[in-house]
């Protein structure tokens, strides 16, 4: 284990060769990550309690928000390429400053319908800012590293992002809600995020742009002019490899949507089945913690196995994690050492997060690998870009679904009804998770059933050759 840790960090020595700008980009990632992850945890509670959205409206608008992030990410690439790293950062941070500050102060200045419409507008601005900063950071990391230190550079970025996610939950979310109360605390989290975005802007100003190491040779190696996503889609949609990829992505939607539950459903579920002053940020931090530890210790071992098998196993583990939340709570109360309902809920919540993170650790990195393996060699980037399409369509639908389920099964006040025996299993939050479990379980089962066609990594040309050979035979 010690060797694995030493091995992981030893490759970081190469980072001595990167420019100051690379570290500035990571500072941006840290501050913005802290702000983004804090907002992601609090947003459903903010829309409910501070803006006055119903559970249904909250679900819809969270779905819209995430859909816009995905949609904008398709297109802001060309903006980043044209304006350059520094100016794109200025645009992104200004959009984020306006939206985060606006969301922090708007509920203090207005109420009712005007507040709702202003919030909807700010959510769209924030989605545009988020998509721009994420896309630009990826471009900036390429820009400020060399081919030799790029891989490690991205590892550092991923590590910093997860550290930001951990601190956002355990320190920022819990800290502000404990200090300022559960309703006012939500606003303070947005104000904190605004302050972090100002720091991001300062870091962007400090980028010198002097050490761009993207060499002329690299640029010459990629002479393809930039295409819009629609142009790329028109080119590849008839290819069987692309259709295979889309089939795979659609089949795996069920379990991947469980990811979005962490932000759409979980915060309300935790607070409503436990209590409003529950430290859910700390619990949320478990996921990035497990991912970071797992990346360091287990990835070298996991990498030895076949991609599709790992995806199936990982998805199965993630889907099964929902069973902890789905079994009747009387079963959990029968476990020795669990005395009351609070302990039962904390037990199943922690168990689910842990098991889900293990599954995520196994299957999540494999998606990129699978996409790369299916794509023809000259179109890997295009396939990668389009691989977000199914999620883009599924997210708003999932927003609606989560809104309906939360309003029906995990509504505010449900704990009072559970305590007094007024909630049958079929009306309980546990049943809601059983529904999610069925949706998630479809993915690994479907992939197992269709594994032969999904496992094929042949391109159209190769398949044509095979077909011709068979005919000749």
């Amino acid at each position: 284990m010690f060797a694995a840790v030493k091995n992981y960090f030893s490759e970081f020595k190469i980072m001595k060769t990167v420019s100051k700008d690379f570290w500035m980009v990571n500072a941006i990632q840290f501050f913005d990550g802290l702000a983004y992850f804090s907002i992601i945890i609090v947003i459903s509670l903010y829309l409910n309690d501070n803006v006055g959205f119903s559970d249904m409206e909250t679900g819809i608008w969270q779905g819209v928000f995430f859909m816009f992030i995905t949609a904008f990410m398709f297109t802001v690439g060309s903006i980043c390429d044209t304006l350059g790293v520094k100016r794109t950062y200025y645009i992104a941070t200004i959009l984020l400053i306006i939206s985060r500050l606006g969301m922090g102060v708007a509920p203090e200045l207005m109420t009712g319908e005007p507040l709702k419409y202003v919030t909807m507008g700010l959510l769209i601005v924030m989605a545009l800012g988020t998509a721009t900063i994420v896309t630009n950071t990826n471009a900036a990391l390429r820009h400020f590293t060399t081919p030799e230190n790029r891989g490690t550079g991205f590892n550092v970025y991923y590590l910093i992002m997860n550290i930001g996610a951990m601190l956002a939950g355990a320190v920022v979310f819990d800290g502000f809600r404990t200090m300022f109360g559960t309703v006012k605390g939500n606003l303070m989290i947005f104000n904190f995020s605004f302050a972090m975005t100002v720091l991001t802007l300062i870091c962007a100003v400090l980028i010198t742009n002097k050490h761009a190491e993207e060499t002329a040779a690299e640029k010459a190696a990629d002479p393809t002019p930039q295409k819009t996503p629609l142009q790329i889609f028109a080119e590849v949609w008839k290819e069987s490899a692309f259709q295979k990829l889309v089939l795979f992505l659609v089949l795996t939607l069920g379990v991947r949507l469980v990811f979005t539950h962490q932000t759409m459903v979980m915060p309300k579920y935790y607070l409503r089945t436990l209590y409003n002053d529950f430290e859910l940020g700390l619990v949320n931090s478990l996921n990035p913690f497990i991912i970071v530890v797992g990346l360091i210790l287990f990835i070298p071992i996991i990498n030895k196995f076949d991609t599709v098998k790992l995806i199936v196993v990982g998805m199965l583990i993630s889907a099964l994690s929902l069973l902890f939340l789905a079994v009747p709570n009387s079963w959990i109360l029968a476990i020795p050492g669990i005395e009351n309902m609070n302990q039962a809920y904390i037990y199943i919540i922690v168990a689910q997060i842990f098991v889900f993170a293990v599954g995520e650790l196994i299957f999540s990195p494999r998606f990129v690998e699978y996409t790369a393996s299916v794509a023809p060699k000259d179109k890997v980037a295009s396939y990668m870009g389009l691989s977000a399409l199914p999620m883009f369509i599924a997210r708003p639908i999932n927003g609606f679904v989560s809104g309906i389920l939360i309003a029906g099964y995990s509504y505010e006040g449900v704990r009072a009804k559970i305590d007094t025996g007024n909630v049958s299993y079929m009306d309980s939050p546990e049943w809601m998770w059983m529904i999610y479990f069925f949706l998630a379980a479809i993915s690994p089962i479907a992939v197992i059933l269709l594994r032969n066609s999904l496992a094929s990594t042949k391109t159209d040309d190769e398949e044509k050759k095979d077909g011709a050979a068979e005919a000749a035979h």
Binding site: G52, I79, N340, Y411, T420
Partner: protein, 213 residues
């Protein structure tokens, strides 16, 4: 200028696309308005403990004080509800919720309306641990003997949650200690059962048992 044209084109597509989707989402949410999925602004102001805003809304739309949410709950029930583990937070919120309750009662909010499980505002106040709100409701004539669909009275619910101050108030106001729920349990049975499960509230349950036995 030419290099900015694709950006402007992309930006326009994004704006158009986002506007269409936003309008469709608002329309979809409005379609569901009739089925009670929109949060009543009065309830939203109660959740935010914004009593001034609540007053304004009630003055503007006086007839809305008995509007129901999707669970059949009125603003009065929402005023009587919080869910905190910390007693300090409960006590802090009760100050504002008492103001809201008093105002709603003044504006003729129905104190005995029941939600879909048969809970009245008094049952919510008993569960939340609000002795002052409970007192205001009882003072306004709320039925102290009312029981939910499972036969739980306010006394049983307060005993279950370890809310000793509410139990004390209800006993003083004449709540029936011998009443049984559909499982045949009295408030004392429930308190006894819970005292073993929540040792951190041991003192409260001991006090409750001394009051209800």
């Amino acid at each position: 200028m030419n290099k900015y044209l694709p950006i402007i084109k992309d930006a326009l597509i994004l704006m158009a696309f986002s506007s269409i989707f936003a309008v469709l989402s608002i329309y979809a949410a409005d379609l569901l308005k009739g089925s009670g999925v929109k949060t009543d602004p009065i309830i939203a102001s109660i959740i935010q403990n914004d009593i001034d805003q609540m007053k304004k809304l009630i003055e503007a739309e006086g007839g809305r004080v008995n509007n129901l949410d999707e669970q059949g709950r009125t603003p009065l029930m929402w005023a009587a509800y919080v869910n905190y583990k910390s007693g300090e937070l409960v006590a802090k919120d009760e100050v504002k919720r008492l103001e809201a309750t008093t105002l709603l009662l003044e504006k003729n909010a129905d104190k005995d309306l029941k939600d879909k499980d048969g809970w009245t505002a008094l049952l919510w106040a008993a569960w939340s641990g609000f002795p002052k709100v409970s007192d205001a409701l009882i003072g306004a004539g709320a039925d102290i003997a009312v029981a939910d669909k499972r036969g739980n009275t306010a006394l049983m619910i307060a005993a279950l949650r370890g809310n000793a101050a509410v139990v004390k108030l209800l006993i003083e106001k004449g709540a029936d200690r011998t009443a049984k729920n559909t499982e045949g349990k009295t408030a004392a049975d429930i308190a006894q059962e819970m005292s073993g499960k929540y040792p951190d509230k041991g003192a409260a349950y001991t006090e409750i048992l001394s009051l209800v036995k």
